[in-house]
Symmetry: C2
Subunit: 303 residues, 2 copies
Amino acid sequence: MNLPDKVTICEVGLRDGLQNEKRLFTLQEKLALLNSVVKSGIKIIEVGSFVNPKAVPAMADTDELAKLMPKSSGIEYRALVANLRGVQRAHECGISKTKLTVSASEAHCLSNLNKLPAEIIHGFKDCVEYAQKQSLQLSGAISTAFGCPFQGKVPALQVENVVKEFLNLGITELSLSDTTGMANPKQVYNLCTMLKTKYPQVRWILHFHNTRGMALANIFAGMQAGITTYDGSFAGLGGCPFAPGASGNVATEDIVHMLDEMGIETNIDLLDVIETAKLAQSFAGRITESFILKAGRCQDLVK
Amino acid sequence: MNLPDKVTICEVGLRDGLQNEKRLFTLQEKLALLNSVVKSGIKIIEVGSFVNPKAVPAMADTDELAKLMPKSSGIEYRALVANLRGVQRAHECGISKTKLTVSASEAHCLSNLNKLPAEIIHGFKDCVEYAQKQSLQLSGAISTAFGCPFQGKVPALQVENVVKEFLNLGITELSLSDTTGMANPKQVYNLCTMLKTKYPQVRWILHFHNTRGMALANIFAGMQAGITTYDGSFAGLGGCPFAPGASGNVATEDIVHMLDEMGIETNIDLLDVIETAKLAQSFAGRITESFILKAGRCQDLVK
């Protein structure tokens, strides 16, 4: 069985977790969480998004948070953006990597923006030009890469078309997001194996939601396909707007715990990750979908 | 990737689910659940256990339930027993397969019964003699096969020793149970690959708890190791006595849903399985740890 020795975890709780929480977290709470994430050893942190604050009020203070970020070397802060204005806002507050997002699902793009995914990506050309001038890094996020409420299963070909468009723009870090928790491990293995083989120049990131319980199985499948970078959200924060009450993002502590148990190195301190998760849960004011917060680590059980 | 075309599911909710529920289910409720399980197409059903009713009051009416079981051909009813008296009670009420259980963990066996696993299995000889005379089938269940609260990780050698003892008694159907949800997919793959290669005469069954979110990943790992039979519990009923509030048995509907999504045949109707789970949840009187009951199937999301 082909498994990596080492895996990189990106913490997306401050963005994908919080933007789906009912309660608006204060700036001080966000900063406390950010500091806790940094302490745990996580080196890639998605701090928020630069989008319309009316559409996503939970992200309205991303600029302020960014200005307070601990400036530890070796940490990559990233933010989600939808257009050039987002890239510019990120740059203004010191975030050098922005993530441009598009849905792989043609039905989804047509329904939301009346454009095909390729047309949306063509619209990112101004972001690329700005980024080149300012020496900023761009990443591409492909949402609904496995399934979509508008069309069901998303064919691999639609995902590949989006990959090609991003590559045409010179963007070579791409994340595949299972936005609505519809991916299964066989599909993950097959899609990732195909893409990784055909596009070896890409740095792949996988982003799973645990809506139907398959997130850790999907990560296990992704690792077998050679993907070594995964998003997680502290305490499993976030939900699924399409299925109220269902689980959202897979919890960072559940991923790190599984990897620790499998002997796969993350350079992250699980006990610190659990402290971050407890903090996030206390701010959220609810019992979140985190297995390790409920059950403890395997080794905690041993008398 | 090596995956089976077809997988067999054993429903253990009536035993492992109910014995860990606070509420005692009535005989009529159990019968309604049993009929619902049969309707879904599941062909192996663990209906209860024949153990000391004072120790496990939830299983006290297993004899009565067994007498009411629908006598459909092609369905295998099984029950858990601890000794000869259990095998005899099962036989008296028409259950022809009993499952003798022992913990793979030496520390666990010594702590609970002051005996090593091998000594416990030697004590099953009278069960084997009785079963041979009465043409009954015996199965062996190896609990804490991956981890144990008394000793942590259970070494593969301890599991293999138990396997050898069962084989010495002529018992060739063996289940490996992750009783406390401590297994990880790498461990499952390695242990199952080793055992399946060295003991090809055994019919292997895997039994996972989702205590730390890894159950579906473990099933995915088990399938890659060539194991094609898995236990599940309707609605995810049951819990973990060592971690109150944590998830228990992996939900049958979550397994069948994943297999359906992966195109692996079960000959089980998922919608019927979901009906069983809803019934179980309504009897339990609580929201249980079932992803599919909370989120619906992938295809339910598609507009």
